[in-house]
């Protein structure tokens, strides 16, 4: 018969002496005695903490209830539910991730226009070294320089501005 522990929950009454090492061990001059002492203190501290977090059902009719606050069956159910919950969450994350991966449009790699222009190597004709052609080329270049240098307007020789209004009338 399970104990109705929700109404009879009590702070555990664990005595310090029951978990502390016996006093007969303390005076030994052994170098390990100090270590033992420290370990004992740690253990006592831990048991204190445990006492604060655990519950114990009040014994009915002076009998001792060995079970903690939550029964093992309930623990199992909670564990199963938690495991199922975690599994479902994990599955959901995995499914969402896979779906998003499928739907994500492929980033089209913009085709960069190639910086290199195709240089078509043309074969020189036999006129490339022709004397007349070379002379024409030189003449055209010289003329081009002359055209770009020359300003056809003669700005320096615009007619002078002179005063012809000579009179001595007020």
């Amino acid at each position: 018969m399970p104990t109705n522990f929700t109404s009879n929950v009590q702070t555990p009454n664990v005595s310090q002496a029951s978990i502390q090492p016996s006093a007969s061990l303390a005076p030994t001059p052994n170098p390990t005695s100090k270590l033992r002492e420290i370990l004992a203190k740690i253990l006592s501290g831990l048991s204190n903490i445990r006492g604060k977090f655990s519950t114990q059902a009040e014994p009915i009719d002076g009998g001792i209830v060995a079970a903690p606050g939550i029964s093992s069956k309930t623990k199992r159910i909670i564990t199963i539910v938690a495991a199922l919950f975690l599994t479902v969450i994990t599955l959901l994350i995995v499914v969402t991730y896979l779906k998003s991966r499928e739907k994500k449009p492929k980033v089209e790699e913009a085709q960069q226009p190639s910086a290199q222009t195709t240089i078509v190597e043309r074969k020189l004709s036999r006129y490339a070294t022709d004397e007349a052609v070379l002379k024409m080329e030189t003449d055209i270049k010289a003329l081009d320089t002359s055209i770009n240098k020359e300003d056809i307007e003669e700005k320096a020789l615009t007619p002078p501005t002179l005063n012809f209004d000579v009179n001595f009338k007020e």
Binding site: R122, A128, V133, M136, K141, E154, L157, L162, V166
Partner: protein
């Protein structure tokens, strides 16, 4: 030994004489650059004398004293002389510019030279005839004479300037026509040899010829605008601006034609 001394003396004298001779200005030494410097100097002198004239004129009109009248007379005389010198040196510079610019039409040049050669002596004579003593009214009369002459000469000034600009355009056009003739001959030779397709080259030649023809048309238009008779000073200036604009258009066509010529030669150098 008898002839050695005179020979050495002659040699030394020749050496000494030659630098002196070389410094003597000859007509060929007097070019546009020198004439232009001359014009700038006289123009500067004129500006100074004109400032003096303005100053002494206002003093005379204010005080009407004999002293202020004397000062006004001298300042006006100096200004009129400097003004004549400025016009004379301007015409000389213009003449030399016409003479030195390649491409100016020979007949056109001769007509302009004749006109300029009549005007330069007129201003020299006018300057020399200005009385060193007289009345202010005499100087006003002399100034008005020069004014009439100068205004009558204005179309000549602008006509000469247009001929200089037109000469530059014509020079480039004639050079391009020469090159075009050589190119045509070369293309004909290539066609005969049959080692290159000349169709593209011939088409480009036509495009180049078109540019040159358009340039010629603009040149003709420019001279038509300027050659209107009996232009006043103001009209001459306006006509010159319009004519110059057309010449600039003509020059632009020639620039493009030259660029085409360069492309044709470039294409000729490569095989099909």
């Amino acid at each position: 030994m008898k002839y050695l001394l005179p020979a050495v003396a002659f040699f030394i004298l020749t050496l000494l004489a030659s630098p002196v001779y070389s410094q003597t200005p000859t007509s060929s030494d007097f070019n546009f650059d020198k004439a232009y410097q001359d014009y700038l100097y006289n123009s500067d002198q004129y500006r100074k004398t004109n400032l003096d004239y303005e100053l002494y004129r206002s003093q005379y009109l204010k005080f009407k004293t004999l002293k202020s009248q004397e000062n006004a007379y001298n300042a006006t005389l100096a200004m009129l002389k400097a003004r004549d010198d400025t016009i004379k040196t301007y015409l000389t510079a213009l003449r030399l510019k016409l003479n030195e610019t390649e491409g100016v039409d020979g007949a056109q040049k001769e007509v302009l030279f004749t006109k300029i050669d009549q005007e330069v002596p007129w201003f020299i004579t006018h300057r020399d005839s200005l009385p060193s003593a007289g009345t202010l009214e005499d100087l006003v009369g002399d100034s008005d004479e020069a004014k009439v002459r100068f205004n009558a000469d204005t179309p000549l000034f602008y006509g000469s300037l247009l001929s200089v600009s037109g000469g530059k355009v014509r020079f480039v056009r004639e050079k391009e026509e020469e090159i075009l003739t050589s190119l045509k001959a070369k293309i004909a030779e290539i066609r005969q040899n049959g080692d290159k397709n000349t169709q593209i080259l011939e088409r480009w030649i036509l495009d180049t010829e078109d540019k040159i023809t358009r340039s010629k048309e603009k040149e003709t238009e420019a001279y038509k605008v300027m050659n209107k008779s009996n232009l006043t000073t103001k009209e001459a200036s306006g006509a010159y601006d319009q004519a110059l604009f057309r010449l600039k258009e003509a020059y632009q066509y020639l620039k493009e034609a030259n660029s085409y010529l360069s492309e044709i030669v470039g294409e000729m150098k490569y095989a099909d």
